[in-house]
């Protein structure tokens, strides 16, 4: 039972340990996975930033490029419509032509609208001048397609020049061959809002040789700096070569470089139908911080999630453990209680057993040993004989005379008293030896210690008192004694000799006048 209880306790400890370790393993796995995911998230974020940045700049550049192209195409369309407004009357004299040109300028809000003839004479609303050395497109003869160019003469602010061919118009005997407008670059750029204050992204227009067309600063690159020269100092050789080639070929591309300790992203693309390149530049941190903000928020949420999960798990498993402990404690307490009850019961049982044993081994009438007790004792003595451990033993068999007669004459109560008296007699003499009532009227005494040494004397005293009792009518006991002899295998052999001698004494007493009370 105790073993079963220990086994159960071990099992419970094992389960508890398993639960705790399991919980710890789960928490460790969750934390590990989250950290791994965090590292991956950051790497993915950086890649996302790069992709988004390039996409963003590409979109910005495309939009701006479309805006530039749109403006140009709108102007070209206006110029064509304006040509249709010129009547033959307008072409009748210089004054009427100037007036017509003035009306066109007012109608479309142009600073300069001009016509050129096949001798490169330019007609504006206020002047007529030779344009061959001022405008390169006038050298095309004939001019078939629109020409988009810039004009930079002698320190005057750069002008964007849009020219379209003219057909079937004559003035002062000469064919008109071109119509063009000049747009101040600054006004052009303002319309495109390239220079928005507090903007974190920068735009610019460059020629393919890297010269700034807009005369605006481009982020950290000043307006009067050549973009390609600047980039040559900021980019590795191979990347700069690619940039230069792309510019020359009018191809889109991108580059990253460091400026004043921060990373800048540059994207460039050609403006259709021009020799210009639109450039966009943003600091890497612009988008990086935006996305990093989301990424950090996600990571924070993950961290919170992990923390909450860990706390919940800890609380949960802690509660489970406590509950288990409590339950286990209860069980243990129950087990202890059971053990205590068991012990108590065992003690009670032991006591009962003792009582039972006492009952089993004690004659209730005489309080001498019972037959059961004699049997147990006999077994022990026989074991001692077999083991050669028995040295001395004497057995006295005592038998009451006349018990039946008394029972029959006076009743069993008087008979029981007779037996008790005899028992007192025997026990009073054999004070140091166990006395067993082995029958209704039979007693066996196993002499030991002083009684064995005084056995002859005691037997003689017993016989004397018995003979005296014959006269007084008190208990008459026939006793016979035998000693253990070396050849005796068992106590029974000694008992039989003692019993024989008891019978001889009984005869002797009978002859002395003991009543036959059997």
């Amino acid at each position: 039972m105790e073993k079963s209880s220990n086994k159960k306790n071990q099992q419970k400890r094992f389960i508890l340990t398993f639960i705790v370790l399991g919980a710890a393993a789960v928490v460790a796995i969750i934390i590990g996975l989250t950290l791994w995911m965090s590292a991956g998230a950051r790497s993915a974020t950086d890649k996302a930033v790069d992709q988004v940045s390039r996409f963003y700049m590409r979109e910005l550049a495309d939009r701006r490029s479309q805006a530039v192209s749109g403006m140009i195409n709108q102007r070209l369309a206006e110029m064509r419509r304006a040509l249709q407004l010129i009547t033959p009357e307008d072409l009748s004299s210089q004054e009427t032509l100037r007036a017509a040109i003035g009306r066109v300028e007012a109608l479309y809000g142009l600073d300069l609208y001009a016509l050129a003839d096949d001798e490169n004479v330019v007609y504006t609303d206020l002047s007529t001048y030779m344009g061959g050395s001022r405008y390169g497109f006038l050298s095309q003869d004939p001019m078939d397609d629109p020409v988009i160019s810039t004009v930079s003469l002698y320190g005057v602010k750069k002008q964007i020049c849009l020219a379209i061919p003219v057909r079937d118009l004559r003035f002062m005997g000469k064919d008109l061959k071109a119509c063009f407008v000049e747009i101040d670059v600054g006004d052009f750029v303002n319309t495109l809002a390239f220079d928005a204050e507090e903007s974190e992204s920068f735009f610019c227009l460059y020629y393919r040789n890297g010269e700034n067309l807009t005369q605006l600063d481009f982020g950290s690159i000043r307006a009067n700096e050549n973009l390609l020269r600047v980039m040559q100092e900021k980019l590795p050789e191979a990347e700069w070569r690619q940039l230069e080639e792309n510019f020359q070929q009018g191809l889109a591309g991108s580059a990253e470089f460091s400026s004043s300790g921060s990373r800048e992203l540059l994207y460039y693309a050609p403006i259709p139908d021009t020799s210009w390149m639109i450039t966009v530049m943003i600091p890497e941190s612009l988008i990086h911080d935006q996305i990093r903000g989301f990424s950090d928020e996600t990571l924070t949420r993950s961290t919170v999630q992990i923390t909450v999960t860990c706390i919940v798990l800890l609380l949960y498993f802690g509660t489970v453990i406590l509950m288990l402990r409590k339950a286990t404690g209860a069980v243990l307490e129950e087990e202890r209680q059971n053990a205590r009850d068991f012990s108590r019961k065992a003690e009670e049982s032991e006591a009962e057993l003792g009582v039972i044993r006492e009952i089993a081994t004690r004659d209730a009438l005489t309080s001498t040993g019972s037959k059961f007790a004699y049997t147990e004792k006999e077994k022990a003595l026989n074991e001692a004989i077999r083991n050669g451990e028995l040295r001395q033993l004497a057995v006295v068999v005592c038998d009451l005379n006349g018990l039946k007669l008394i029972n029959d004459t006076y009743g069993h109560a008087r008979g029981d008293e007779y037996i008790r008296e005899a028992s007192r007699l025997i026990c009073g003499l054999y004070k140091h030896s166990p006395v067993f009532r082995v029958g209704g009227d039979e007693f066996v005494v196993l002499l030991q210690n002083d009684d064995f040494e005084q056995r002859e004397a005691i037997l003689e005293e017993l016989n004397r008192r018995v003979e005296e009792n014959l006269r007084t009518g008190r208990a008459v006991v026939s006793a016979g004694m035998a000693d253990y002899e070396p050849g005796d295998q068992q106590v029974d052999a000694v008992l039989r000799r003692a019993d024989q001698r008891m019978y001889e004494r009984k005869k002797q007493l009978k002859e002395m006048g003991a009543a036959i009370r059997e």
Partner: protein
């Protein structure tokens, strides 16, 4: 010098004026002043070209003017002058005064063409006719006849009419001879006052070119160990100047320098010299972009940059006054002198940026 004093075109008035100017130049040069100024960033000294011009206080009497201007040849130099005219025109327009004009020239310098243009312009009803004289001998009489017919005539930009011409006023370079002298002095000093040099004049008969060439000749003539090996006329054409220079280089093995008297021939000469790889000192005039690059690279030694912008700006202002009938005097001088600035290699990038917005 002797040649100069016996030159057919020299009059007593001109001799006196030139002598006075030469003496004045020597004095001023010693004072580190006058025309020999370097192009400096704005704020330190006056720039070679002043783009920050505003109209003077004169109040025009009309709200509309119409002018005719003609010049030697279609050429970027006169396009630069036009920038000044256009700016003045814009400022007049801001004041509510409409100034219209024609600004015409032939593709090739031709005095007869200019003469014909002037004669046509005489019928055009213009308030003022302005001319950059292609050939003072041919054009000066035409101008006189226009004045006699009641027209108001002025000269402008690089070349005035002959002394005594009845044109009303001149706006432009009044010191072409001195410019030639200055440039040639710089070249002679560079060469250590020895060696053989060539002169590329420009357009035959063009007063400014001829005056500069004369200044060059006179200067070289001062130094016994120097000699003029060749004098050629490129007619203000770069390609012609290039080919002439190549020929000179072939013909003159020991050529040490070239004096270029207009805007085109420094470019042609520099191309030819650069190709040859020979070490030859080139001096020239004006602000051609390619010439400025040659200056930056050291192929050209120095350039005399005229303030073309101011020439054009002042021409229109003077034309308005002339149209109002105001004669030269206190309101404006008979000759409005426009400055020339000699620039060297170290000034090239500044001028390139200033004139062409070019950053190196």
């Amino acid at each position: 010098m002797e040649h100069f004093f016996t030159h057919g075109h020299c009059t007593l008035f001109r001799r006196a004026a030139i002598c006075t100017l030469v003496l004045g130049m020597i004095f001023l040069a010693g004072m580190a002043g006058g025309c020999r100024a370097f192009a400096e960033p704005a704020g330190d000294t006056e720039p070679a070209v002043n783009f920050n011009r505003t109209l003077d206080d004169y109040v025009p009497q009309k709200d509309r003017y119409n002018f005719y201007f003609t010049y030697k040849i279609v050429h970027p130099w006169w396009d630069a002058v036009a920038m000044g005219i256009e700016d003045a025109q814009r400022q007049y327009l801001d004041r509510g005064i409409a100034v219209t004009y024609e600004y015409m020239a032939p593709e090739k310098a031709d005095a007869e063409d200019q003469k014909a243009r002037l004669q046509r312009a005489a019928e055009g009803g213009y308030d003022v006719i302005g001319v950059d004289v292609a050939d003072e001998a041919v054009i000066s009489p035409v101008l006189d006849s226009l004045v006699e017919s009641g027209l108001k005539v002025m000269t402008f930009s690089s070349s005035d009419a002959s002394p005594g011409c009845r044109r009303i006023a001149y706006v432009g370079n009044t010191h072409n001879y001195e410019d030639g002298v200055l440039l040639t002095e710089a070249l002679c000093e560079k060469l250590g006052y020895r060696g053989r040099v060539a002169v590329l004049v420009g357009t035959r008969g063009a007063p400014c070119h001829e005056d500069r060439a004369q200044g060059a000749r006179d200067t070289v003539g001062k130094y016994p160990e120097m000699e003029i090996a060749a004098v050629e006329y490129d007619q203000d054409d770069i390609q012609t100047a290039y080919e002439l220079t190549r020929q000179i280089l072939r013909d003159t093995d020991d050529l040490a320098g070239i004096i270029c008297c207009n805007m085109s021939n420094p470019v042609g000469a520099a191309r030819a010299v650069a190709e040859s790889g020979r070490d030859i000192v080139i001096v020239g005039m004006d602000h051609d972009r390619e010439a400025l690059h040659f200056l930056k690279d050291g192929v050209i030694y120095c350039l005399g940059v005229q303030d073309c912008y101011s020439i054009g700006f002042d021409t229109l202002q003077v034309a308005v006054k002339i149209a109002d009938g105001v004669l030269p005097g206190t309101v404006y001088p008979e000759k409005t002198e426009e400055r020339t600035t000699v620039i060297y290699q170290k000034d090239a990038e500044t001028i390139l940026e200033m004139l062409y917005g070019e950053i190196q």
